[in-house]
């Protein structure tokens, strides 16, 4: 016998699980980014008040007592994980069918857990303890159990041999919703099935089950026959059993709390070596490393950097925990590298309290297997590269290291940071083209731009003084510009700026070569002449929205 646990309105229940007080309210779950959020899930109370899937946030303003929540994938993942835990606590054979739905084999459990009705009730009770309201069905085959759980509320038991009779009352839609992915991945094809059954007047599974088989096969082919068998509750199959996760973890409980990194590194090294040896024995490598540190509860205030990571079951203990995760760019198996990476990470993110327990685990993955081309330049080893990047990140801060990618916008200097991964080198031709395009004059940018005070006469800057650097100041003897740009006007963070290329009489060593600065004449317009001798060229920028001036860079 098989049981199916199905959580109706799973997205809503996953949220209510963390906010049980919402159970008494109408709840709608929204998705998409503002301002175009839409309802994607509802609880029964909300449905009864007339709220519909697809309604927008502002349309929901009419419902006074409706609670709105954004869809939370992490809460759904947690809820589903809890569901799996619950199922696994009853049976070793559990199928992870879909989010909010699990199947479990009850064969042989009766002597241990009692008769089937009791097991079903106990399962339902256990699920409800996890703050989830489930439909639960027990039947002789997994698909019949699944159909019954999706179609009937509460706990349903279908005696063997009476599947067709009991399932007959269910609408055909339940069958198509439950198994559409089994016979077609194309939504249009599924809707064609729905239309065909509708045209034939087949509304209940009983009607589908009653059709003669050969004509059905002539008309609907093998998928049709399969659906008919499902409708009769006559499909027998094995569960796609959830393989127990390979766990590569080591834990150490300390007699005395550790406060320094060095003894911690010593312990970590031993643990990493153990983990790597176990991985190696199975010809696996590590893709992620998770370090969980249990901290001494005596210094709760020192745990400023604690990271509250979601765990599989909500923790009831008050012991502070500290968790770090290292995601590796490629599967690796080098305890020394792992240790160095963990050290660098802990230096950047100290636990902030004495450590009383260490738990280290690794997510296994197949090791990297690739062969470099004979004529390809040698890239750094991924392990070393990752180590280097981690070192840099330790110095400059997280999120400040990677490959810079220019954004397609007129906004000056707009870029995004991608994880650094060496690519193919540019061809000679491209390099030549770049060389050809490159400017003869270089602009050295100040990062961040230096604030400046500027005197403007007749809409032109005539004098400037840098607020942060005294050496950048003086009469502006030559200007080119303004160069205007603006954009993102449809966003709240619209921008508008005006740039000037200016020449200021040189006071420091940043003088222009004499040959390029022959005229001392003040250029009144857009500056198509060279500036005067002994001048320094700057790029001066005014943010037109705030009115602030900046020295953005200096020309060589």
């Amino acid at each position: 016998m098989f049981a199916c646990i199905f959580i109706p309105d799973f997205s809503v229940q996953a949220i209510i699980r963390f906010e049980p007080e919402l159970r008494a309210h109408s709840v709608a779950v929204l998705t998409r980014r503002p301002p175009l959020e839409k309802v994607v899930a509802l609880n029964e109370r909300a449905r009864q008040t007339g709220v519909e899937i697809g309604a927008t946030k502002s349309q929901l303003e009419a419902w006074e007592n409706l609670v709105l929540r954004a869809r939370s994938e992490s809460q759904e993942t947690s809820a589903h994980a809890a569901l799996l835990d619950c199922a696994q606590s009853f049976s070793p054979e559990v199928e992870d069918t879909s989010p909010g739905t699990v199947l479990l084999n009850l064969a042989g459990l009766e002597p241990l857990l009692g008769p089937l009705p009791k097991i079903a009730r106990d399962l339902a009770q256990r699920v409800s303890q996890m703050e989830l309201a489930a439909n639960l069905a027990v039947a002789a085959n997994p698909d019949a159990a699944l159909l019954a759980a999706r179609g009937f509320p509460g706990v349903t038991l279908i005696p063997e041999g009476r599947e067709a009779e009991r399932l007959g009352d269910l609408p055909v839609d339940v069958l198509l919703e439950s198994f559409s992915s089994g016979f077609s991945s194309d939504a249009a094809e599924v809707s064609r099935w729905v239309e065909t059954f509708d045209r034939w007047g087949i509304r209940k599974l009983r009607a589908l089950a009653a059709l003669p088989e050969v004509p059905v096969s002539e008309r609907l082919g093998q998928p049709g026959l399969h659906l008919q068998k499902l409708a009769r509750g006559a499909v027998s199959r094995n569960l796609r059993v959830l393989e127990p996760r390979l766990i590569f973890a080591e834990s150490v409980e300390l007699e005395y709390p550790i406060v320094l990194l060095e003894p911690l590194a010593f312990l970590l090294n031993r643990m990493l070596e153990q983990v790597c040896a176990r991985l190696s024995a199975r010809a696996l490598a590590a893709q992620e490393l998770h370090l969980n540190l249990e901290l001494a509860p005596t210094q709760p205030n020192g745990c400023a950097s604690f990271t509250q990571m979601p765990t599989q079951t909500p923790t009831r203990t008050r012991t502070p925990k500290f968790t770090r995760t290292l995601r590796l760019p490629a599967p690796m198996l080098d305890a020394k590298v792992f240790l160095k990476l963990l050290q660098l990470d802990l230096q950047a993110h100290p636990p902030g309290a004495p450590i009383v327990k260490i738990h280290l685990s690794a997510d296994p993955a197949r090791p990297r297997a690739l062969q470099s081309g004979l004529f390809q330049p040698v890239f750094p080893e991924p392990e070393k590269l990752e180590l280097t990047l981690a070192r840099i990140a330790g110095i400059v801060g997280e999120g400040r290291v990677g490959s810079v990618e220019l954004l397609d916008t007129h906004r000056e200097g707009a870029f995004a940071l991608r994880h650094f991964a060496p690519g193919e080198p540019a061809s000679k031709l491209e390099e030549n083209a770049k060389e050809k395009m490159s400017a003869v004059i270089a602009l050295r940018l100040f990062r961040p731009p230096l604030g400046a005070s500027v005197t403007v006469r007749e809409a032109k800057p005539v004098r400037m003084r840098c607020l942060e650097r005294e050496d950048i100041a003086g009469e502006i003897v030559w200007t080119a510009g303004p160069w205007r740009s603006s954009g993102d006007w449809s966003e709240q963070e619209g921008w508008s700026r005006e740039e000037w290329d200016i020449a200021v009489a040189a006071e420091s060593s940043c003088q222009l070569p004499v040959s390029s600065c022959q005229s001392n004449e003040r250029e009144p317009t857009t500056g198509n002449r060279q500036p005067a001798t002994g001048l320094v060229l700057y790029r001066l920028v005014q943010d037109k929205l705030s009115g602030n001036w900046f020295v953005e860079g200096m020309y060589d």
Partner: protein, 1072 residues
Amino acid sequence: MYVELHSRSAFSFLEGASIPEELIAVCASLGMPAMALLDRDGVYGSPRFHLAAKKSEIKAHIGAEVTCAAFPPRCLRGGFRLPLLVASRAGYQNLCRLITKMKLRVGRKEGACASDLDFIEHADGLICLTGGEEGPLAAALRQDGPQAAFEAVKRLTEIFGHSTFGPSNVYVELQRHFHREEEYRNRVAFEIAESLHLPLLATNGVNYAAPRERELADAFTALQHHRTLDTAGRLLSPNAERYLKSPAAMRALFADVPQAIANTVELSSRLEFTLNDLGYEFPRYPVPEGETMMSFLRERTREGMQSRYGRADAELKKRARRQIERELSLIEKLNLAGYFLIVWDLVRFCREQNILAQGRGSAANSAVCYSLGITAVDPIGMELLFERFLSEERGEWPDIDLDLPSGDERERVIQYVYQRYGQRGAAMTANVITYRNRMAAREMGKALGFDEDTLKRISAAVATWEFKDENDALDRRLCDAGLDLTHPRMRKYFELCLAAQDLPRHLGQHSGGMVICEGRLDSVVPLEPASMPGRVVVQWDKEDCADMGIIKVDLLGLGMMAALKDSLELIRNHYKEEVDLAHLPADDPIVYSTLQKADTVGMFQVESRAQMACLPRLKPERFYDIVVQVAIIRPGPIVGNMVNPFLKRRQGREAVTYPHPSLETVLGRTLGVPLFQEQLLRMAMITANFTGGEAEELRRAMGFKRSEARMKVIEEKLRAGMTRNGIHGETQEQIIQSITSFALYGFPESHAASFALIAYASAYLKCHYLAAFTAALLNNQPMGFYHPATIVKDAQRHGLKVLPMDVTRSDWTCTLEPSAISHQPSVRLGLKYARGLREAAGQALVRERSLAPFASVQDLARRVPELRKDELTTLAEIGAMNAVASSQLPVASENRNINTHRRDALWQVERAVRWSGPLLDELPEIDGESPLAAMTHEERLVADFRATGLTVGPHPMQYRRAEMKRMGIYSAADLAHLPNGRRLRIGGCVIARQRPGTAKGMMFMSLEDETGIANAIFAPDLLQKNRALLISERFLMIEGILQNQDNVIHIRAEKVSPLRVTRAETASHDFH
């Protein structure tokens, strides 16, 4: 001084954000004496630009940016746009021909490009600029550097001519939008100009009139590239500098090159051409040797007069002769003989080809048109005002519109015009599609990256009712669609929607307007390929053509003309009778009694709810009453409060009085109430001494969109004239009120008379040949006020048997079949009513059936391979295959149809479409009968409406009548017997919703049940309260007060609720 010589308007379609009038308005405010419009690949906006400039006393230079693929052999490989300015009429003609040539070389949606050979051929009279960032100089510079740019400009001088001593035809263009890259280009341009001795020219490459319009321009750019504003990146403009700048600003910007500014004035003075000098000539009609066009016209008119007035009394004949002579003299004086002959020739062609054709509009005021057979109304007998058609003072071409049967026959006439005047001599007028609320909301949503669901919701929510109150404002509608307009991004979206209003989006084709030309039309205006093969379309719309003095003939497709023609054919074939529309019995009592009862569903012009509400009060008794009936339900008479006084006077409840004794002759026929445009013109002529031309000016001001100022001027003239004639005070006010209210649309009497003829004919055919008329109506849908479903139900209520679609009997169109129980034939629904069934497949089915009957569903599927699975399924679903499906059942042949139901056919179709190969092809059905249950009546209704939009079975309400009675719901037929003022409930299927602009926000709704149609009126507050319900529900129960005035029955709604009758998707005809 500075003249802007490079600007685009919104007629560059998605590349400009201001209409030409706006550009001119800003140009005038900046004090610029002239300006040039260079739209992309056309002169679409030039008439509006020219007219606006004329009013502002600005010189409008014409030109275009012409897309070019490449300049061989080595310079300029990629595409660019060449800005061309027109210097002379020859230049304009060259530009038009150049654009025509490139446009007609490729299909409608393919990108047209000119080649250097095209430019060489058409260079004369054109002046070329080197362009901005899309110009040839910039393109060459981008590709291969300064040398290539130099070569490109040199090539331009070779093409367009360059004189060392005289003025050059190539100007090196400088633009400054505050970009560094642009300044680099300008430096190269300086050097090229210097080395080639070419003049510099400063322009601003204008894309919009004011800086704020940059946002809309950016949204257009995103749409043009099928991106969103977020993903368009550097395709968007870097700043907002492409606006129309003042001469002072431009002088300051180009202070270092003053000659570039000075050259704009010099070049402007060289551009002599304006659109005043278009050179259009209407074609001459070829006449036999020894004849002039005038003598030929006289002869044709004389012949026509003989046949029209041959049997008339002497007095009428005398008046006709006198009037015709007067008209002919005027035609001769205005040199219009050719025009009349050309229209006569078209009508003659129609007659020869047996195509119904009838002139409408003011042409019906002309006795010459009547004699020539162009119109069907006798203007002498009806005393129509000739000046309404043609006047000496007006200096305008007369307007002759021909109504033709819509569809193939109209197309034949159009092709005749092409054949007669050549592909380059005739073209359709364009129809400029402009942004309205719905399109603006949708497109701007796309630009902002809204998902398809949101866009659909917005489209559905944006109301397009004719009447709009504060609840219909766009922001309210967008809020209803669930958008939060307080969010800054949404606010921006709303602003964009408003800014896009009325801007041109793309060019369509006008349904019937044709322009013809002596010589080559492509020298007057560029031509483009139309979507229909074999047609070309000019770049100007109807109004623009009229403004430019280009004469057009409207060949309008009228569904009813086609229905009348089809009816005659069906009558000939099935009733074996010959009906001549020109000689129908004039006073048929059945027709008038039917009209008086407002039993007019399907009849031309008198079937609408408003017409039905008027007919029982007006009680037409003769033809002229129908003329009045057709004219009275128009915005002009309704807003001018002329309807009720007229009806009261007609019923004898109010005395007939006249605003002034002098108007008795004019208003006598309409009981002292002006109803027709001619009457208002005559009133102006009598009371204020208006001349015919002044009266025509008044007509143009009436109903003309941009006429408020004009109307004011005329009103003053009217007042002055009346005061001179001693008409003062209240009388004067009353006359002014009558005239000005016609600023809203009203019918001329001649037009109403032409329409009344068709209305009478349709009524006659419906009353006497219901089967033929109903089949013809169904075959010519969409047309009229009602959906086919309502037409079928109405015909059934009148005793007609409508047979369901049947693949063994139905043709593509609806046909007639003899009836065993009635003298009247039955209508068989045609295959065209099966939704999704392609005509080619339907015709193939009919063709194959004519060879041999279908033995089974499988036989049908095999012999008509054109039928797709979905088409076969649809046919089976609506019962059209029942007869074939029965042949497969193992029952005695004489009992066949008895046990067959739609699902038997569906069951067999599903097997037939899964062809198992030749081996098993002949294998019989194993189990014969299908295991599927027959459809319930509800399922049949759902299938019928889903697949045909109608049902020939009982009305959905009939199945629920008992339940309705229990709910206290009266049927439509009950209402006539209930007392006025009674509170009651009605219920039915919503078949029409209407919110006319003249009804002060009231909404009218028609509900249909099995007994007829009931009408309800909703006050604005009730509508607002139940908006979603009233707009979206298919069946409603309405509670309210019965109003029965002179047998015109309405329910004044007080409460409304949805009625659950069927899931069938019935449709309502909503008037927006």
